[in-house]
Symmetry: C2
Subunit: 280 residues, 2 copies
């Protein structure tokens, strides 16, 4: 199959590497001529160019640009496409993307391969990034089933765990387990830094060990990515933050009122609820 990839970063590059190994022909597009040359030199893409016209013969095109550039990319891409071409994206938020792109191109399947590393860019692209990771497709009523099946088959060939759901259900689910944790974790670091006594702050920094390290990890990650999560999934992130604050207020009240039995029951429940989130 001829597969186009727009945006040769971590996700686009990693898709190219795996799909080429599976025997597909890879046509890559990046705004940067240097990245295009690197994609060819490293045998990541068969052909690469800053020109979207390169993708005219592609049967499936993965849109791997930042979410902010998706709609403009599709608008510029359309004049080069035959109606049978299937478009799919890799954005981490689905409702706004599907709402923007589906009216422009019928053969569009919203997608989200839930993989990544702390790195970014084509240099970070690697083989096998999607193995055993969730790959979510969010078709809507107007999405042609044949297009969903072709993208599904490609996702399965990457050894991903394939899921299908409504765009809004995807966005609510990732708000809980991906976007909310970033805000919760960043707030922990910021709260510690608000300690006004330098002696106490210094001791806190010296005493911190694995518990603090784990709880603060995603709050110390890529700032632009964290901001973009909130920006594109605003309503669902705010919804999860209000639920979180309500829960936090209950913990504060339990501790203030010395309801130790209730607090211990809560901690027992969180301990027994957590494993259901760790299956992957």
């Amino acid at each position: 199959m001829k597969i186009g990839i727009v945006g040769l970063g971590l996700i686009g590059g990693s898709l190219a590497i795996d799909l080429r190994q599976l025997g597909h022909t890879i046509l890559g597009v990046s705004r940067s001529p240097k990245t295009c040359q690197e994609a060819i030199d490293r045998h990541i893409a068969h052909q690469a160019s800053p020109e979207l016209s390169l993708l005219a013969p592609a049967e499936v095109i993965f849109l791997c640009t930042p979410i902010a550039a998706l709609q403009a990319t599709v608008e510029q891409l359309i004049p080069h496409l035959s109606p049978a071409t299937i478009l799919t994206d890799v954005g981490s938020v689905k409702a706004p993307v599907v709402e923007a792109i589906a009216p422009l191109w019928q053969n569009f399947v919203g997608g989200h391969p839930m993989a990544g590393t702390a790195e970014s860019g084509l240099d970070a692209a690697l083989s096998g990034l999607f193995i055993d990771r969730a790959y979510v497709l969010t078709p809507i009523a107007t999405t042609p089933p044949a297009a969903v099946e072709i993208v599904s088959e490609l996702a399965r060939s990457l050894q991903s765990k394939l899921y299908q759901c409504r765009p809004i259900d995807h966005d609510r689910a990732v708000a809980w387990i991906s976007h909310l944790p970033v805000m919760v974790s960043a707030s922990l670091i910021a709260a510690c830094m608000s300690e006004a006594d330098p002696t106490v702050l210094d001791l806190a920094q010296k005493f911190a060990s694995s518990g603090f390290k784990d709880t603060s990890r995603v709050g110390g990650g890529n700032p632009e990515l964290g901001m973009m999560m909130a920006r594109y999934n605003q309503a669902e992130v705010v919804r999860s933050l209000y639920a979180y604050r309500h829960q936090l207020d209950q913990v504060i009240e339990q501790i203030e009122q010395q309801n130790w039995t209730e607090l211990e029951s809560l901690l027992e429940k969180t301990g027994s609820d957590r494993p259901a989130f760790l299956s992957s």
Copy 2:
């Protein structure tokens, strides 16, 4: 040196193992005759008994019982001791412990070896648990410097990183980096479980990966330990929770008001502030 250890669990047992390897004579006390026998059979203690009178010849005694049992243990121990005997504890909260024990025994040095595993009990005790971990001593104005020096020397011999500070400064510091993260992390799990739509909750559980796993880890730990942190360090935990909620409210406001530049600046700052907490 003759060293007594009251409470042969994870910490007491691990102290016994290391101090015996360093050539000291270990006298162990546990309420459970079975644990005493195990400590002798496994060559963890030279002698072990449920009777505190066993500790009469000890020069230094580590109090490794739960915090709730500390004061009663010291009161029962005192009739057996010579005035030169040094007492030190291993409790994870220091101000209430020091306030309770210091008036009972002058040669008392508050201590907190900041080590542990997910396990508990003598079966979990292991060699080298304290290497490169913080070991905090919290002497007060009335603590004899010679007693502090002897406990310091023992802590150093375990290859711990030795710190000294005021009990209240210890408690504030551990509220930030140990107790607050438990409440923050548990609230994340509980908030996710509050999702009323079973489809969304199911997707969230399936999509959760390393970010959620790390952020939720300490909130899914030992419930009794988590409750005890809040109970014995109540004032400082509440103080840290209020500061945290204030910070969280700022994040919510930034997202609601679409202050993306401010949110990104905050996430840049948390990213650059985090490494100072990761030195150990």
